[in-house]
């Protein structure tokens, strides 16, 4: 919210601890005031004469990351750069560029980091398929382990983990009334 002044640039490395803290407090206060003010005044809408084109732009912008405030999409963010880039997308769409062309345009400038849905390429293979590999590997390990255990038990001629005496005792416990303590 408080990025509405042009960019915040890079903060100084935390040398002025106290100054930075009070600066942050001031920013919070300012943010609160802005939110309160915005609630009363309502935000001025950005220019967009054609509602369909505007929806298209927002839909595209919602898949792209704003680099100035990295956990927001270009559609969500009010950072000056996001406003500029929305305008850029609007103009490119008006020129008849496809979604793919616009993504390539932004990717060429800001890198793959702008894509919330990263492209499948050699350095993202692990990201895309890692979870599936781990899942399949885990299932395979489970299957092999269970098969081995079964084979071992069969080879030893054991059909139950309990000895005869234990099995009798278990049966006896099961037969007893559930309310009574069996260990007394």
């Amino acid at each position: 919210m408080w990025e509405s002044t042009p960019g915040t640039g890079h903060r100084a490395d935390g040398r002025r601890g106290f100054g930075r803290l009070s600066g942050r407090a001031a920013a919070l206060l300012l943010g609160a005031l802005l939110v309160a003010g915005g609630a009363v005044a309502g935000e001025a809408p950005e220019v967009g004469d054609n509602p369909a084109a505007e929806r298209h732009m927002m839909q595209l912008a919602s898949e792209l990351r704003c680099l100035q405030c990295q956990n927001q999409t270009l559609a969500d963010s009010n950072a000056p750069l996001a406003v500029d880039l929305r305008q850029e997308i609007r103009e490119l769409l008006a020129k008849g560029q496809s979604d793919q062309q616009i993504k390539e345009y932004l990717g060429a400038r800001y890198g793959d980091f702008v894509f919330y849905r990263p492209p499948v390429q050699s350095n993202t293979l692990l990201l895309w398929f890692g979870p599936a590999i781990v899942l399949v590997g885990g299932l395979a390990a489970l299957y092999v382990t269970l098969r081995r255990r079964l084979a071992r038990l069969e080879a030893e001629g054991v059909t139950s983990d309990l000895s005869d005496a234990e099995a009798r005792r278990a049966q006896q416990l099961l037969d007893e009334d559930s309310g009574e303590s069996s260990l007394s």
Binding site: T5, G7, G9, H10, Q70, R109, G111, F113
Partner: protein, 180 residues
């Protein structure tokens, strides 16, 4: 044999844990604000902008061909630029290469006042009021600095202030190599 294998298997979760810890530990020292630029080793985007000092003079990227040069994005509203500025002024005093400024989303009056007040390390500053050239260069947080070679190819990008250490350890050796 089976026993050895079994005892090794017992350590697998520990190994997994250590691998994960290592990644998480490394993650502590990564700055998510430093996004690698896709423009490294690509031709620097063309621009032709009015000079900050005078609308009659144009700053054109093509005029820099044949030189190794720095393009430094700055703005009078940028706090970190103020910290970086003395480093650039000092570098410009001794440097063998030109620094071109890209005055980003600023006003002429504020920009000129800043240069008068803090010194002007730039051979010229291009006035990018709309931030369009900034978009072409993938600028997302001022200051950012690009080192561009004689063929007009971007060789290095610094996100955030240029420090004396960065100059000494990285930029100066790189400039010497590019000028060789």
């Amino acid at each position: 044999m089976a026993a050895t294998r079994k005892s090794l298997v017992v350590f697998l979760p520990l190994v997994g844990f250590l691998v994960m810890s290592w990644f998480l530990y490394k993650g502590l020292f990564l700055d998510p604000r430093e996004v690698p630029s896709p423009l490294i080793n690509k031709p620097a985007p063309d621009f032709r902008l009015e000079s900050l000092a005078s609308p009659e003079r144009m700053v054109d990227r093509r005029e820099m061909l044949g030189k190794v040069w720095l393009l430094n994005t700055w703005a009078s509203w940028c706090v970190a630029c103020r910290e970086e500025h003395p480093v650039l002024v000092e570098f410009a005093r001794t440097a063998t290469i030109p620094i071109v400024g890209l005055n980003y989303k600023d006003t002429r009056a504020d920009g000129m006042r800043w240069l008068t007040e803090f010194g002007n390390p730039y051979v010229d500053s291009a006035f990018d009021q709309a931030g369009r050239v900034g978009i072409d260069y993938g600028v997302y947080a001022v200051p950012e600095t690009f080192l561009i070679d004689k063929q007009g190819v971007i060789r290095f990008k610094q996100i955030g202030p240029v420090t004396p250490e960065l100059l000494h350890d990285t930029l100066v050796p790189l400039i010497q190599r590019l000028n060789a």
